[in-house]
């Protein structure tokens, strides 16, 4: 904003009234109530008793997603109608930036847990350092290595032999996701996924260059390739999970290695799914002729998100798979 006087000030569009917030609230609250009920039925409930939890959850989720769809559609319509001043557009830019920052912090929590477990907890449980005094009392015989192929529980002879309260049984994996587990480099799925996702970040950038030049054909082509790479990534990830559960014995129950592996890659995969959906929507919008060389924020925001999930993957590849 280059310091306009009040006469040349472009009006900031403040929408008057909107039902979106209330509708989104109804959908959100119903879906979390349903989700919590499903989990409680699963863990604490009577398996013979049928409940309505799933219907509440699915209805809420559908209501929520439908509201979000209507909400975004309205925002897009306002933009096409020329109601958004340059200043308002900057608000959307700031909103997206800080949203991505909050996502970074979410991953930070899980990476922090991983680092804490690997550098401090593991050695302590094995009797090293200042935290190691309990090893002889609780986890005698436990030796630490990463990936953790034997949980402390297994080291003392299983859940029944464990000297503290039993809060589940943790059976470690037979095979880890390490590079050393495969006989040829091309059998290692995470390497392929790294190549796929890095390439997709590049193709996304090429698409961006295309729209900046006003070359819509180029834009649509490269954006389409990016979405396709996202789908392939998710497919490979899904296959890797299948392998983990079916052949590696690596599950959510495999102690802290399984916990951190599935939570980090799982949340990342979910974010890839979100980013891919966002980009696919931008592709459809482009085919409908929404974008011009100087107005394509919907795509730009989605592409930032895509580069963000790409960067998270680089850290995942480094700290979950390689190191």
């Amino acid at each position: 904003m280059s310091n306009p006087t009040s006469t040349e000030y472009e009006k900031y569009y403040v929408p008057e009234k909107s039902k979106m917030a209330i509708m989104a609230t109804i959908g959100l609250i119903l879906s979390i109530y349903g989700a919590a009920s499903i989990m409680n039925d699963m863990t604490f409930g009577d398996p013979n008793e049928t409940t309505s939890s799933w219907s509440v959850f699915l209805f809420g989720l559908f209501f929520f997603l439908a509201t979000l769809f209507a909400w975004f559609r309205q925002a897009i319509k306002e933009n096409i109608a020329g109601m958004n001043s340059a200043q308002l557009k900057k608000s959307y830019v700031l909103g997206m930036f800080w949203f991505i920052f909050s996502e970074v912090m979410f991953f930070f929590a899980f990476f922090g847990a991983l680092f804490y477990v690997r550098t401090l907890v593991g050695p302590w449980l094995a009797g090293e350092g200042e935290g190691g005094r309990m090893n002889g009392i609780l986890w005698e015989g436990f030796e630490y290595s990463w990936p953790m192929m034997q949980t402390p529980q297994e080291a003392v002879g299983g859940a029944a032999a464990q000297p503290i309260a039993n809060n589940g049984s943790f059976t470690s994996a037979e095979t880890s996701m390490d590079f050393s587990e495969v006989s040829h480099w091309y059998q290692w799925l995470p390497l392929w996924n790294t190549i796929i996702l890095l390439t997709s970040s590049f193709t996304c950038h090429v698409a961006h260059m295309g729209i900046l030049d006003g070359n819509k054909k180029k834009f649509n082509l490269w954006l389409g390739i990016t979405v396709a790479l996202g789908v392939i990534f998710l497919f490979v990830q899904f296959y890797e999970y299948y392998e983990a559960y079916a052949h590696f014995g690596l599950t959510l129950n495999s102690g802290i290695y399984g916990s951190t592996f599935f939570m980090l890659t799982g949340f990342h995969g979910f974010h890839v799914f979100m980013g891919m959906t966002m980009l696919a929507i931008q592709l459809m919008r482009s085919l409908k002729g929404h974008f011009t060389a100087d107005d394509h924020f919907g795509f730009e925001a989605s592409s930032w998100y895509w580069h963000f999930v790409d960067v998270v993957w680089v850290f995942l590849f480094l700290f979950v798979y390689i190191l």
């Binding site: 989990m39 847990a113 200042e130």
Partner: protein, 526 residues
Amino acid sequence: MGDHHHGPAKGISRWLFTTNHKDIGTMYLWFSFAMFILGGFFAMVIRAELFQPGMQLVEPAFFNQMTTLHGLVMVFGAIMPSFVGLANWMIPMMIGAPDMALPRMNNWSFWILPPTFLLLASTLFMEGGAPAFGWTFYAPLSTTYAPPSVTFFIFSVHVLGLSSIMGSINIIATVMNMRAPGMTYMKMPLFVWTWLITAFLLVAVMPVLAGAVTMMLMDIHFGTSFFSAAGGGDPVLFQHVFWFFGHPEVYIIILPAFGVVSQIIPAFSRKPLFGYDSMVYATASIAFLSFIVWAHHMYTVGMPVAGELFFMYATMLIAVPTGVKVFNWISTMWRGAMTFETPMLFSLGFLVLFTIGGFTGLMLSIAPSDFQYHDSYFVVAHFHYVMVAGAVFSMTAAVYYWLPKWCGRMYNETMGKTHFWISFVGFNLTFFPQHFVGLAGMPRRIPDYALQFADFNMMSSIGAFIYGASQILFLYNVIATIVAGKPTSEEKVWDGAEGLEWTVPTPAPYHTFETPPKIDPAHAHS
């Protein structure tokens, strides 16, 4: 788009569908007061049980549910939304903006709060009772040994986090993008500055809290072992993740309070704020330090000595910027033409009592001493001095200060001052003796206690009932002002007040600054 020069819509749809920052601010403020009463009711149950030693009124399990819900409701339902409400009302008016940057999302941030707290409160009636593991919900109390209602608690926390993140993004976008031409960063009122920094803290740590409760959820229902040593995890990991959120959280609560007091003390001293620049830098320093001190909440869990020392020294450092602030507030008053209306009384109450809370915080920061104080009533006394006399007193001051601007009517000054003195006496009677019983070894979160603590506990309970009752006077005063207060139409309700909000008509019209105001470049910050 239509005509922007209109008033509010009629009926309930005005509140349900609104995009107006003043409407949304009002809803936040009333909602937070309702939660303040609910959380206060839980506190009264706690103090009634502790009135005498021995089991008096409630079962120990229910007592635990009360302490848990009291903390959660006060932190997430009362204090945080009250300051968000204040931000909504005041930030656009203080920086000369027509509204918040993202008005529809603003309404959503508010409306997900009431049903979420309904869900949280409904856990009291669920099988196994409400969460009973304290507001800090340490694993394994909150995982292995938790009642089934913990799942609803977890999802509630997720949604509260979502609300806070959206609210904060809105505040950041508003402050960075919506300032009137000429309103440079270093001209912003300090309340805006403290909220900008608070919003940054919220966006940074709320996702970490979401991560913590997600790990709990997975441990409870899906067999992971983040907080279970048997699977190679660690219950102490929970405390690290929680306090990485939790320590910035306490500054999230107190920084806007600093901002409020920095507006009010200059107004009633009739002098500009002393050391404005250093106030800004001190706020930023406190925010930075808040990220590297979290483990001072966990000195007794068995951290390596190097860790204890690092967190101890880092924590002590916070006293420096905080000291700068207290020094500046006192210097602002120095040789000022001071008067003592209700907002000023609450601000001075804040200054004195918050400083006491700061000093007990300094005591607690010393790791070897903390081994003695940890989990005792000394800690309870400490954080109520900063939470109640800090955040709640300054919030009360803010309501008295800006209420005439909001509704165009003056509150009853005598009743306001009475409210202050009863609150002040009641508060100190409640919490000052808790320092003594805490130092003598009375543990927190226990429904019974040894006989030697009886007298101080009875004093504490009487004080709590007095402080609680004084809030009814507050509610009455506010409603009486809105309904039948003495009308005022002076733009500048307080003769010493500075800032753009005092240049618009009183009561503030539904829409303000649809075209940005002219900022006098020579004029210093307000």
